[in-house]
């Protein structure tokens, strides 16, 4: 059903019409809205993908971020790596996630962003390193458990959980009393999952 069930049964032309209209609910939900639209448009295969690839140059931030997220990996119309230098954190973050999906060896360029001012970007760096360099990821992730931003701490916990890295359990335990409820939730889940792995060995 997705986030906007009213979009589910629209044909491609109607989805395209919505693409040019303001987001339902206003700018606050634009990222979620155009994400759903791009996802559904791409489900229309070649015609939908062709439409989105033609919109790259015309798109504002929420629409471009949706294209970066949902245009198929390695599509010729999108030179993902160029967007690593964008000055919009959301675009950089989506680009890092896209580069990981494209299996492009950009570890050095992405690692250069690990101290980026935006927590969204720092979180994406953690996801990228976990997938592309799982052996060396734990040190970076454990360091990120102390990041000043809750989004980054939460992301670090999730990546340690999903690696999985049972050695990180003692470090994650300290976040059970984190000031932010999302970090607490991530920590509780990770410890349950990692302990579950230990007990199944």
């Amino acid at each position: 059903m997705g986030v906007y069930p009213e979009l589910e049964h629209l044909d491609l032309q109607m989805l395209i019409q919505r693409w040019y209209e303001p987001a339902i609910g206003g700018d606050e939900y634009a990222i979620a809205y155009y994400d759903e639209l791009a996802f559904l448009i791409c489900n229309h295969s070649e015609a939908g993908i062709a439409f989105l690839s033609g919109e790259i140059a015309n798109s504002d931030t929420p629409r471009l971020s949706a294209i970066l997220a949902h245009l198929p990996p390695n599509h010729s119309a999108l030179q993902s790596i160029h967007y690593l230098q964008d000055d919009r954190p959301l675009i950089v973050s989506r680009t890092i996630d896209r580069l990981q999906a494209e299996q492009i060896g950009a570890l050095e360029q992405v690692l250069a962003l690990k101290a980026h001012p935006s927590p969204l970007v720092r979180s994406s760096v953690l996801r990228f390193v976990s997938k592309q360099s799982p052996q060396s990821a734990p040190n970076l992730l454990i360091e990120a458990l102390h990041d000043p931003d809750d989004l980054v701490r939460m992301s670090a916990v999730d990546e340690l959980d999903e690696l999985p890295c049972v050695e990180a359990i003692p470090y994650i335990q300290t976040l059970l009393t984190d000031p932010h409820k999302y970090v607490q939730e991530a920590a509780a889940t990770a410890i349950k999952n990692l302990n579950g792995l230990l007990s199944s060995v």
Binding site: M1, G2, V3, Y4, I24, G25, E28, Y29, I31, A32, D35, E36, A38, F39, L40, S65, A69, H70, L90, S93, R94, D97, L120, S123, L151, M154, S155, D158, D161, E162, P164, Y182, E185, A186, T189, N193, G196, L197, S200
Partner: protein, 76 residues
């Protein structure tokens, strides 16, 4: 069933609000309420999730409800 996939699927189906926030996605309150109700009943599935989370959902568990996944993952 691979434990890693089970853990990720269950996390996505129960903690969608905070996981969407990692990608900069803010969900409408009305939709969160619908998802919360589906989660409570165990009927939420990958197709109910925001597109960004659907993309990372473990393939072999796509389309199954939370209750079904819990059953599968318990029995291994």
């Amino acid at each position: 069933m691979i434990s890693k996939d089970c853990n990720l699927a269950l996390k996505l189906l129960t903690q969608y609000e905070r996981l969407a926030a990692k990608y900069g996605v803010k969900l409408p309150e009305a939709r969160i309420a619908v998802l919360d109700e589906l989660r409570l009943q165990g009927g939420i599935s990958s197709s109910d999730l925001p597109a960004t989370l659907q993309r990372i959902f473990p393939g072999q568990l796509q389309g199954l409800t939370l209750n079904e996944i819990r059953q599968i993952c318990q029995t291994g």
